[in-house]
Amino acid sequence: MSSYTSGIIAGAGLILTIFIVSLIVRLKLKKGNDHYDERQVLVRGNGYKISFMTVLLLNIIYAGFFYGPTRDIVAPQLVLLAIPFIGVAEYTIYCIFNDAYVGVGQKTGKWIILILFVIVSNTLCAIYTNEPGLSDNGFATGGSINAMIALVFGVILIAFLIKHFIDKRGDANEES
């Protein structure tokens, strides 16, 4: 087994362990917390529908137009990764602007810190990667994936800040 493979396995194991531990902690903390906001659930459902249709449409456009002379414009794996990222960004922005992203009892600041962490860590990985360029022989490089994640989360952060600004200025906070 090469050091690269063992590194991948160790990394996946670490991520899985963190995921399971955080899930257990979350379930423990959630006990007795019966918040359920039907409007937010409705908005999220609509968001899923819209982003699903967008992903479907983009896949059809990609399948229809990126053949023949235009097929080498962009690496296939890069497009296949970019399309779900676009769907995720669209869904998140829809939820943010319809007040359904941050759940009942959750703090916006915590989400912003988490998003900032993802942006910074992925930007650093994209900058210091040893694979040059966005794609190599039809495959997306590790750096390009990091850059895409940083970009998507950057857009989400901007949406968060715009919504925060609108709420401060607009009538969303008005009680009258």
Binding site: D34, D37, E38, R39, Q40, D99, E175
Partner: protein, 63 residues
Amino acid sequence: MKNLKMKSARAAKDLSQQQLADLCSVSRQTINAIEKGDYNPTISLCIAICKALDKTLDELFWE
């Protein structure tokens, strides 16, 4: 159409939107949307609001 009955009932109990939202376990934005008439709540949320404001369904949600 704005739900002025709910708004006045909330004001009569001296509750803010956030306080009413906490009592009903929903977000403040949901209470705001109901009062502005942008969202039609389900019967279970209507009942939760009525209980929080000590009103009947007829008093708050019947035209």
